[in-house]
């Protein structure tokens, strides 16, 4: 914790990232209180108010059926950040057991698991997620979450495997083996906990990427469907009106940018603070 506090003092970027992420969480939790028109986050229709420009009454204007864009953007903080949280959770739940098993036991198990991750990592993640999302029909937030999670776990299996393999060779693990402790116990009590720090850093770095991926798929029509107030979907809906009603797409898109930016800045700062040597392959790390 002290190193975190130090990092925050030295690096204004991590502080800015943390503050914005905190604000997004507050907006997501308090959306019903903050939004001037909570019903507009759903299927409400006010044809008499359609396509009004931003004003004091509607800060971000209104959309094609008269819903308050500001309220929908606030409620959007509950959609793609939640998708990102679930994706990362599922990806860890698949990747961590596989990675730790591969790294600790080695041999044929390791070989098989790593070749499978090789295949998944041969696709840019957005591409594979798109292919999965396109065949899981009908498109919804659930299909979107599954499609992204299925493409995201190999990164974590990879990362944890490397950590577990290096931890498994340390003297204290050898001591446990010499004491005759069962292997599953060594795995759970000693290897796994000592492999987790880089995972936490990577997960926080990836949150922004998952938000971008889920927004992109929703933009293409492969995720949230109307009336869900998803930012990517709102940009897609606003595109048709963009030449005259610029506010429809501008504000939701800005929300995606700010959210992805905040998570990436926070993750970058965490990496600098917790892991000065930088993890794994620098090329892959820079890419994610």
């Amino acid at each position: 914790m002290t190193s975190l506090r130090q990092a925050a003092r030295q690096n204004p970027i991590i502080t800015a990232g943390a503050v914005i992420v905190g604000l997004i969480v507050i907006v997501a939790v308090l959306a019903p209180l903050l939004a001037p028109a909570p019903a507009d986050a759903g299927a409400a229709v006010h044809p008499e108010n359609a396509l009004q420009a931003p004003s004091l009454h509607h800060l971000f204007g209104t959309d094609q059926v008269g819903r308050d864009v500001f309220s929908r953007v606030l409620y959007g903080a509950r959609v793609s950040p939640l998708v990102a949280f679930l994706v990362l959770l599922i990806a860890c739940a698949i990747g961590v057991p596989l990675g730790v098993t591969a790294g600790y036991f080695g041999g044929v198990t390791d070989e098989i698991i790593m070749r499978v991750t090789d295949i998944f990592l041969a696709f840019p993640s957005l591409l594979l997620a798109l292919a999965f999302a396109a065949v899981i029909q009908p498109a919804s937030l659930t299909s979107l979450t599954i499609a992204i999670a299925v493409t995201w776990w190999p990164w974590y299996a990879r990362l944890i495997r490397g950590q577990a393999a290096s931890v498994a060779g340390r003297p204290y693990v050898e001591a446990c083996t010499a004491l005759g402790l069962p292997r599953w116990r060594i795995l759970l009590r000693h290897v796994l906990p000592n492999s987790l720090t880089p995972l936490l850093v990577q997960v926080s770095l990836d949150a922004g990427g998952v938000i971008l991926t889920s927004s992109a798929l929703s933009f293409l029509g492969l995720g949230a469907q109307d009336p869900v107030p998803d930012w990517g979907l709102m940009v897609a809906e606003g595109e048709n009106y963009f030449s005259t009603q610029w506010w429809l797409a501008t504000f939701p898109g800005l929300a995606i940018l700010v959210t992805a930016l905040a998570f990436t800045m926070l993750g970058d700062g965490l990496r600098d603070a917790l892991d000065p040597k930088r993890l794994g392959d620098p090329v892959k790390v820079a890419l994610r």
């Binding site: 204004p12 970027i13 070749r115 499978v116 090789d118 295949i119 998944f120 041969a122 696709f123 840019p124 957005l126 591409l127 594979l128 798109l130 292919a131 999965f132 396109a134 065949v135 899981i136 029909q137 922004g208 971008l212 927004s215 992109a216 933009f219 293409l220 029509g221 492969l222 990517g232 940009v235 897609a236 595109e239 963009f242 030449s243 610029w246 797409a249 501008t250 898109g253 800005l254 995606i256 940018l257 992805a260 930016l261 990436t264 800045m265 970058d268 930088r278 620098p282 090329v283 820079a286 890419l287």
Partner: protein, 344 residues
């Protein structure tokens, strides 16, 4: 490099691994195609088919055969160029990809040129004064590029430069009206190159005007990645003894960073270039249709809208193969340049 048996063994191993991965990629796309809900035989036979017609359709489509046979047939299809038929264009998927790929390559290569021209100088500047205000601005800027939702960035640039300032066009690869006065000879399927080769300057200007906005949008991600990468790599090498020696010899700081430190940073930056190439190809899916750019991205977006599974999987397979090939090329070139790698 190939004079040494070790180097040959290294290259052979990398190529073999890449082939294994491509085989895995083909199997994975087969699995995804198999996941498609609904019975392909029912789609084939139509909604009012009798049980006997369904059975015949299953027979005809080979759905009754055991899984290994079906996978084997899928493999031989892919290998012989039969990638299925697109549902929305009614054309073979592979020929659709062949028609669309040049426009996308043009766009992505233009974007990477911009990304290198912007990213490397910014990364070097940030590494020269680490911790300064300039460094922080460049770092935030590069994170901004990486975090940019490209489909939104495209709309914003269109609004500013095309609709408000009226300085740049928004749609297509060139102005079709120019075809009457300055007809374009189709030699390479890439209008910019065709115009350049035939000395068609009016057309060349038009193609470049049309290229700027989409290329800028696609460049945002690679530019951010390259700036970050250059900064990190140069800062790393500044600690090395030979760089410190150059500095103590009294070379100017610019030369130390720009020439000596950057020399070592080139290798990983080149590697990242090959990888962002594949990522940028996928980003065109989100951008091309907004610019009416007749490439793979527009094709994929249309396929997604039409739930055209053969086309989507064909593009997926194509880009995965390009990605594997780019990685392999990077590995081999790096091994050729840096003997330490191939001795591992």
């Amino acid at each position: 490099m190939l004079r040494y048996p070790r180097a040959i063994r290294y290259a052979a191993r990398r190529v073999a691994l890449a082939l294994v991965v491509v085989a895995g990629v083909v199997i994975l796309t087969f699995v995804i195609a198999d996941l498609v809900p609904g019975d392909p035989a029912a789609t084939w036979a139509g909604p009012h088919a009798s049980a006997a017609q369904l059975a015949r359709a299953r027979q005809y489509l080979g759905l009754n055969e055991p899984l290994p046979v079906r996978i084997g047939r899928y493999f031989s299809g892919i290998a012989t160029g039969d990638w299925g038929t697109s549902i929305h264009t009614h054309q073979p998927v592979l020929s659709d990809i062949g028609t669309a790929a040049p426009a996308t390559l043009e766009l992505v290569i233009a974007a990477l040129v911009i990304a290198v021209a912007v990213g490397i100088p910014l990364g070097l500047a940030a590494a020269r004064w680490p911790g300064s205000v300039l460094d922080h601005v460049i770092r935030v800027g590069s994170v901004l590029g990486v975090s940019m939702p490209v489909f939104w960035f495209a709309l914003i640039l269109q609004m500013v430069f095309a609709q408000r300032l009226h300085v740049l066009p928004v749609a297509g690869e060139y102005d079709p009206n120019l075809l009457f006065s300055h007809p374009l000879l189709d030699r390479t399927q890439v209008p910019v190159l065709d115009a350049l080769i035939s000395g068609n300057w009016a057309m060349l200007g038009s193609t470049l005007d049309h290229l700027i906005l989409p290329a800028l949008v696609v460049a945002s991600y690679p530019a951010g990645v390259i700036a970050r990468m250059t900064r990190a790599q140069v800062l790393d090498t500044l600690g090395e003894t030979h760089v410190q020696m150059v500095r103590s010899l009294g070379f100017r700081e610019r030369t130390v960073i720009g020439t000596f430190a950057m020399k070592l940073a080139w290798n990983p930056v080149a590697a990242v270039l090959a990888l962002v190439f594949a990522y940028s190809l996928v980003n065109t899916f989100l951008v091309e249709s907004l610019f009416d750019w007749p490439g793979l991205g527009s094709y994929t977006a249309a396929s997604v809208a039409a739930l055209d599974t053969p086309a989507i999987l064909g593009v997926t397979l194509f880009i995965a193969i390009v990605y594997v090939a780019a990685n392999l090329a990077v590995d081999l070139v790096q091994a050729a340049l840096d003997p330490r790698i191939r001795l591992r």
